[in-house]
Symmetry: C2
Subunit: 325 residues, 2 copies
């Protein structure tokens, strides 16, 4: 399959092409840029739903039930599971296999895990690019499921159109902190395992925190109770998600959100490109390594090192023709 | 207090100066760079111990008991709690106050929370800089406590000399995933609440995962059982930490680790600086915003936008004198 065939395959919703495309992005292969460039105009149609929450909150089950719900409504659904585990343990892959047994035969469903592989910030970027592929492949709903409650969640949430936080009653001491951290980025709260004790308390705490939260739009996050294992509350959840999208349609915040996302993305790409170009133009890779050694040995502080490097990187004008490639 | 006094205060272990210094870093105030530059040569002596684990694992209690343990050995201890909560809810500040009641009167102890405030990657950077301040202030042990299991943890772990993961028996479905994600970055495992059922099972699972993990050094992560609430197992824990540092002293991996950290840091600083300079030299802030709008409207893909912007940024040589500052 060459790049043209691959891109056609993605746009024609071919599962093999989609899988291949995402792998290319994950591995940062050279074709990644070509693919992303060419599919870009076809993106922006999917509803991207971020699902986050602590381990043990039942996120995966909830996502599985949401798939079923959306499939009943005849919508094509993709799941991108963001997994901080490393690939060699096979965690992600194993998890996928188990979940694909339930939904995998259905061509209207696609499930995929992505692992961090230790790149700083690399996951969020790869996830955004994978979302573009799923979006271009015509999935109407893309569920982005994350594990954990760290910066990852904040980053992934920024790429989603709506962010849903899954809580469970009686989670212990850290729940206060967790909720606080997620308040600003959450558009919808799910109290899962709602047959357990302590639901009114979680609800009360959430309401209290919500009343303190100053959102930049006028959306009031809904609180939905579910028992995912028994498929209870799923219709309410889907309808709460629909309400948010209906609200966003008329909100100026939507364009703003989209623009912030794009700006962050462009800034990142530009930074990488500038660094690469600058080190090449200045022929300064060796110099950079030498400075790393000196800073590492505490002979030099990082800021002075940058001062020393910058003139080298700037002095040669582009007319040399080395800076463009 | 001017910058000179502040720096002197930090080096003389004055609590007010330390607190002020960290706030300056957190707020990205202009003096931050001056402070970091001038204290840099005084860093590198502290043992930085990363403590991570899921909500409810009892990390905070464990950290409190570790403080007591180290204080008994007459070592100065600082705690940097990395907290994904946003500052307006007061979560971090409240938590600090409660914990300072136990240790706050003791000048050999310093506890501080840092919140993400939604910066992408900003937390990890601010945390590294705060660690430099605590290190320069002569704390012999710095405990870095993180909440959650995402990219944050991986980033913070990279700044620590040793990373300890706190687990509890019977944590539910996601424990497998969590452990997998943390295996590569973990130097030590703590099974806390070890009076609960299920300890042998967690231990067995850990051993199995460890046997699959291919570390770049020859360290075999220890597994220590504790009941933090009852101060059980703390001596074993401290001794396991000591053993790791003894091992690292003779390991080439130590210098390598230090160098990787420095390289990542320099790359980051350089990227930021290059972007700022490039946009100013090219007088291209407006152009950048215009491109953001077009990409946002799907008229243009991000990669083509970068292609369009790059020539503007590169063409003017430094001789104009605009590019340096």
């Amino acid at each position: 399959m060459n790049v043209d065939q691959l891109i056609d395959g993605i746009l024609e919703q071919d599962t093999r092409a989609i899988a291949r495309g995402i792998s290319i992005i994950e591995n940062r292969s050279p074709q990644a840029e070509t693919i992303l460039r060419r599919i870009y105009a076809r993106t922006g149609r999917a509803r991207i739903v971020g699902v986050t929450g602590a381990p043990g909150s039942g996120k995966s089950t909830l996502v599985d039930r949401l798939i079923a719900q959306y499939r009943q409504a005849d919508l094509r659904v993709a799941v991108l599971a963001i997994d901080p585990s490393s690939p060699f343990t096979g965690g992600a892959i194993l998890g996928d296999r188990i979940r694909m047994q339930a939904h995998g035969v259905d061509p209207g469903t696609y499930i995929r895990s992505m692992a961090t592989r230790g790149h700083l910030g690399g996951l969020a970027r790869a996830a955004v690019d994978a979302l573009s592929i799923l979006d271009a492949a015509g999935f109407q709903i893309i569920l982005v499921e994350t594990v954990g409650v760290g910066q990852d969640e904040v980053e992934v949430a920024k790429t989603a159109d709506i962010t849903m936080v899954v809580l469970v009653p009686g989670m212990g001491d850290d729940i206060q902190t967790m909720k606080a951290g997620l308040m600003e980025i959450s558009d919808l709260f799910v109290i899962n395992k709602a047959d357990r004790d302590g639901v009114p308390r979680v609800e009360r705490e959430l309401q209290a925190l919500l009343s303190l939260t100053d959102r930049s739009d006028d959306w009031t996050p809904a609180i939905v109770k579910t028992i995912a294992l028994e498929s209870v509350g799923l219709e309410d959840l889907v309808s709460a998600i629909d309400q948010f999208f209906a609200f966003m349609k008329t909100s100026p915040r939507r364009t703003e959100r989209q623009r912030e996302r794009t700006a962050a993305r462009l800034r990142e790409l530009l930074q990488e490109r500038l660094l690469k170009t600058a080190l090449q133009v200045g022929n300064a890779e060796g110099e950079f390594d030498a400075l790393v050694k000196r800073v590492s040995a505490k002979e030099l502080d990082p800021y002075t090192a940058i001062e020393m490097l910058m003139p080298k990187l700037e002095r040669r004008p582009i007319e040399d023709g080395v800076g463009k490639f």
